[in-house]
Symmetry: D3
Subunit: 135 residues, 6 copies
């Protein structure tokens, strides 16, 4: 009996989309105002979905309190109120697009889950733009 | 041509998470304040997804009015403004976790659907905690 | 320059609407299924609005972190995952209708605010039913 | 590394559900007030999901600006503030149910995407009724 | 002790903005695509706010079930799945703008409320456009 | 007949809360992680409410298309994807708190409205923190 448990979380961050090896003009032609050199920012809404077997005694796939704490230590403490380009090591050489942020979050969380569980990350950059990644 | 039709519904209920064979201390250590002996409650938001073939004449997978009525008779009438632990027979010996509630709803609805259709249940316990089950 | 700052919070609780001096039949005729003797519950969404002058140096009406902490200590710690009728002293002799819960929250918060500030409470009992109180 | 990028859009339209070869009585018995001869309407919320490989340089599956423009030219310009039955050619002989609208949108968008990409359409007819189609 | 109780409701309708005494060209220059002769439509979200004294026994400003029934008989039954211009008598000679719809709803509801109560209508025509009217 | 028309808009920006005349330590003690020297950011949701008389011919308080265009030229073009501290002149010597941003938006919009109209600004910095200002 496989059930998916889902937990919403939230962080605010500044970022900028640009490719270091390109000049400003090319960055602006590809990324538009998202490449603004002084940064802009978002309220990122994160949904973490964990699929696993329901424990027949507790009725739980996993303790959502544990999932909440894991998201806090791995994602919120690392990303919230940060400049992703400058202050988050994973993006030192990786462009902090929504796609890449979702992949980085997936890679940070998956080692903490039991092998039998599967993980999906949904990340809203704005209420109208969001991405999904499941490994 | 398989399309999924989705219907949102809603019920309010009281519940408590505890394992009868455990003492209060163990229940509290596992379930925290969710094991409060006087109960707490939620506005459960339910999304019922039915996937099937589109009828070429009516353009419908199934009449959403029928789906709405089915959810009302099988779920809302049974769960709404109830104490799940005391007043809903399915939880007499089953812990009313979000996971188990979703599975119970699935099992109540699926016999009423045509064999060719598949069913998914999404249940929000709070705006930040929710579960999915598809058999 | 008067500005209103608003903070959303959340608590889950069980409650029951009934008048002790009435019999079950009258309670049910007035409150319907809300008078269920075994309780039901809600995810209460709370919005606390504080209106005051903007500090010319900090640009703030009040520190929203302080408001968040005040809501936590006065409301969330007192109401969350509780049975309002049994476990919250303010409702020992007061029916825990949404209207009365909003008034109680107002009365708990207002002594902690500067005299120059005004307070409004908005309380969602369900996404479709909510109340407002401003003293 | 397959990631899904999602874009929300919106259009308002009038429509009516009825089968031309049926009489009014049969249409009303099947579609109820949705078959009202003078039409009714909806705010359709559309979510377009495109799954593809992340470009290692730009960090993007596709430019969301391009996806936004594609949705505008193919869907919004064609459907927004229109009477679907009368003014949108795809529904000249096809009932504009939510299911069929989703399929039509899918068929209009998919030729514009790279072969390696997959597409899913989610269409909300009301906040409580919605459909999904992925080819 | 004045408290406001709020109830959300919903109806879907077709409409068209045009002034009968103007020609098509002038109508289109003022109302744009909202004047489309074949109509378009919306999911109207309605919030009805009633302010009054809290009954010291029941803890209620008014029974929200009564308010829900009043909204159903006066607004939903009259407007839902209708063409506002053709099928709702109030708009025979009144343009069904969001502003006017809100005023009409106010005028239909206010005679049913006790004199001591005050009424406010909030009407969403789309998630981004809405109006308020309080007499 | 005074009616309020409301329009939602949206912009993303980076900002930092700090008082230039204070040292880093004092800034951090007052503003916490909001004073991060590398900035963070938000999806700001803006609601602009204009109250005025309904034109008896058009049924409108003002053309919402005009209001949308005004918000675009005065607010979105000026703030969207910008660093508020560095790139928006109004905040050269004014801390870009939500309170101050709302006041600045009010002051930018009000000269464009007829004298008989009144204006209210609601600004969401996050889904849980927002402010209101009406002059």
């Amino acid at each position: 009996m496989r059930v998916t448990v889902c937990r919403k979380a939230h962080f605010n961050a500044a970022h900028r989309l640009y490719v270091k090896s390109w000049n400003e003009k090319k960055n602006e032609s590809v990324f538009g105002k998202c490449s603004n050199e002084y940064y802009h920012g978002h309220n990122y809404e994160l949904i973490v979905n964990v699929t696993g077997n329901v424990d027949p005694v507790t009725g739980m796939v996993m303790d959502l309190k544990d999932l909440k704490d894991l998201i806090k230590s791995e994602v919120e403490d690392a990303f919230d109120h940060k400049n992703l380009n400058i202050q988050v090591p994973e993006f030192a050489d990786l462009i902090p697009s929504a796609e890449n942020i979702a992949v980085v979050i997936y890679n940070k969380l998956v080692p903490h889950l039991d092998k039998e569980k599967t993980l999906e990350i949904i990340l809203y950059e704005t209420p109208r733009n969001f991405v999904k990644y499941s490994g």
